[in-house]
């Protein structure tokens, strides 16, 4: 079993390396990364590679891994394969905060530092409100319903702000709402990496609780797990992961929903390998979506959020069909 997991991990790493080379090469300006690395490239190419493509590459990987892990935790804790980090309200909360800040600050908000900060604040506030309102320690179904409805209300407010105060400056807000990696640099990368790193340190402690929570409260309790502590803790971890990813890249959909299914299909249900394979697949899928979005019609870019939506639909349906057949 572990040999199989190692093989899967290795092939995912190879895929990521291949995509990384593509990501460094493709774009509005064609750059040969090997020439630059061996010192044969011109200074402009070095500049593009070092300050634009490299941070973007790592950001795609980190955002994808964080979204994927957040989705996995949410699906396990809420015991529902259709749950995604959006249920915690992070995307809607970040959207409302960013749109309101962009449109009400009259351009005073710095896009590279201010927007991610505001987004993170909004995401955490909305997530905390949902956990508090719907009882993070109680019935998971209440959390799902309350979270979905709360998210819809926040999205309605986003629309209201755009329509009410947008007047000619809505494009910037709308671009952010699609979810994109365009123009991101090291400033946005560090917070996502930090959140992912802390999560990676904490996750080994969560392996057993997650494995028990999957089977329901009674089972988990009878195995000696403090459900009232571990469930909110796991949800908080998922919220922090998703909030950091949203704050850097905007609300990219489907990675948190689809990637855990993909990982489960590859590894089976054991938690520890599932965590690592989910992180790697999330990184690979997001990087792939970014590369595809840049490669289709250069110099135009299709935002990564739109690409994950398009790729996500058929994959998701296929995976669900597979799973239901396997269960039957």
């Amino acid at each position: 079993m572990s040999g199989r997991v190692a093989l899967i991990g290795l092939s995912l790493l190879v895929l990521i390396a291949f995509l990384a080379i593509l990501s460094l090469t493709l774009g509005a300006a064609s750059v040969d990364p090997f020439a630059v690395l061996t010192g044969r490239g011109d200074p402009a190419a070095l500049q593009i590679l070092w300050h634009l493509r490299l941070p973007r590459l790592f950001l795609a990987l980190a955002v994808g891994a964080n979204f994927g892990l957040a989705g996995l935790i949410v699906q396990i804790v809420l015991r529902n394969p259709l749950a995604e980090p959006g249920v915690l309200g992070v995307s809607a909360g970040a959207s409302l905060a960013v749109v309101a800040a962009l449109l009400l600050s009259h351009g005073a908000l710095s896009v590279s530092l201010g927007v991610p900060l505001v987004a993170f604040g909004g995401a955490v506030a909305a997530g905390a409100a949902i956990l508090w309102l719907c009882g993070g320690s109680g019935d998971p179904r209440r959390l799902v319903l309350g979270g979905v409805v709360f998210g819809m209300a926040l999205n309605a407010l986003v629309m209201a702000v755009i329509v009410g105060f947008g007047a000619g400056r809505a494009e910037l807000a709308l671009l952010w709402l699609t979810g994109s990696l365009y123009g991101r640099g090291y400033d946005q990368l560090w917070p996502v990496l930090a959140c992912g790193g802390v999560a990676a340190l904490l996750l080994p402690a969560f392996v057993r609780p997650l494995g028990l929570l999957r089977f329901g409260d009674d089972q988990a309790r009878s195995a000696g797990l403090e459900v009232r502590i571990w469930r909110p803790a796991a949800l908080l971890l998922a919220m922090a992961l998703a909030a950091s990813a949203v704050s850097a890249a905007g609300p990219i959909g489907f990675v948190g929903l689809v990637v855990p299914h993909f990982a489960r299909l590859l590894t089976g249900a054991a938690i520890a390998p599932l965590i690592w394979v989910t992180a790697l697949s999330g990184a690979a899928v997001t990087l792939m979506a970014d590369v595809v979005g840049r490669a289709i019609a250069p110099p135009l870019e299709i935002p990564v959020g739109a690409v994950t939506g398009l790729i996500g639909v058929p994959i998701f349906l296929l995976l669900l069909q597979r799973q239901s057949r396997r269960r039957a």
Binding site: L82, E171, S324
Partner: protein, 338 residues
């Protein structure tokens, strides 16, 4: 049900109250706007067709169709929600949360960006799209025996798919993002008698049909073995009522855009107003009235510039009222599932 039954005594007040609310909102809608109209001028502006004035034109051609649309669309959405809740036996089902609205919206956007079909074609296209996405949601939800939380997550996933499809269509199409977003929120501004003419032939016959067959809805709430014992083809009637719900929703989406939450809320408001569970013969008209009242209030708020500096799409106050009331219901212990 005896005459002393509290439910029986609440029927008349509930119907009168909702009608009064609709009337007040209609008067508000008719008098507000660029050509301010006093209450006293309203009868002349409405009835005196001979005199051509700005006010008369604004009232008869701009504001009256809008008020009528609010009532028609609200009633349609309210009944669509009641049907959805009955056929799934799930108090949280509604055309929006089951992905039907988003599917219809995707089809309509496809129609007017790429295919360029007429308004009547949009109605048909919207119905087909709504039916397909609704079927997809139910197919996903069936894996867990229609567990309420699962049904909603399936609906959210389907709706998210449709929304990303809409995003791509808008990126491809030449439509300005701003106006498209305005439409996607759902609104009643600038609706004319022509839109009313498209909506009522779709809505009114279905409403009458549903009301005439509403006995069957009560039977669908029984478990399947019992209803089979009475000789009811439960599956067939679920399909018929499901289609009715889709047609009602699609009509609203094609003419007013996707307005959320009214279908979810109206039946609960109706039940609360009538003092508990009632037969569908009563619940259907009550839901229609409640839906019409909620949408009328939302539209009067949207037109009034009370909250925002400009006029906002009707969908925004509608969804805010809806979400607020829903969270209230939710905290007060709305029963989740059967």
């Amino acid at each position: 049900m005896t005459p002393d039954d509290p439910k029986q005594r609440l029927i008349l007040p509930f119907f009168l109250l909702t009608l009064l609310l609709i009337l007040v909102c209609a008067v508000l809608t008719l008098t507000q706007g660029r050509f301010a109209t006093g209450l006293a001028d309203l009868p002349t502006a409405l009835l005196d067709r001979a005199e051509v004035t700005d006010t008369g034109f604004a009232v008869r051609q701009l504001r009256l169709p809008r008020a009528v649309m609010a009532v028609l669309a609200g009633a349609a959405l309210g009944v669509a929600g009641a049907l959805m809740q009955a056929i799934t036996r799930n108090p949280l089902a509604d055309p929006g949360l089951t992905g039907v609205t988003a599917g219809a919206a995707f089809a309509v956007v496809l129609g007017f960006t790429l295919l360029g079909v007429s308004q009547a074609g949009l109605l048909v296209l919207g119905t087909v799209g709504g039916a397909l996405s609704g079927a997809l949601t139910f197919a996903l939800a069936a894996q867990r025996g229609f567990n309420p939380a699962h049904l909603i997550l399936a609906g959210v996933a389907v709706a998210a798919f449709c929304l990303s499809g809409i995003n791509v269509l808008l990126l491809l199409g030449a439509t300005s993002m701003n106006s498209a977003w305005f439409w996607l929120v759902g609104g009643l501004a600038n609706r004319t008698w022509q839109d009313v003419g498209h909506l009522w032939p779709m809505v009114l016959p279905v409403l009458v049909l549903v009301w005439l067959t509403s006995r069957r809805l009560d039977l669908l709430l029984l478990d399947d073995d019992t209803s089979r014992g009475i000789g009811l083809h439960a599956g067939r009637w679920r399909l018929i009522f499901g289609l009715c719900s889709v047609v009602l929703t699609a009509g609203c989406v094609a003419t007013c855009g996707p307005i959320g939450f009214i279908g979810l809320l109206a039946p609960h408001v109706a039940r609360m107003g009538l003092g508990g569970a009632v037969s569908h013969r009563l619940l259907i008209p009550a839901s229609a009235l409640a839906g019409a009242a909620i949408l009328s209030v939302a539209d009067a708020l949207a037109a009034s510039r009370l909250i925002f500096p400009t006029e906002i799409p009707t969908g925004i106050p509608a969804i805010l009222i809806g979400a607020g009331m829903f969270l209230l219901l939710f905290r007060n212990g709305l029963r989740v599932g059967r």
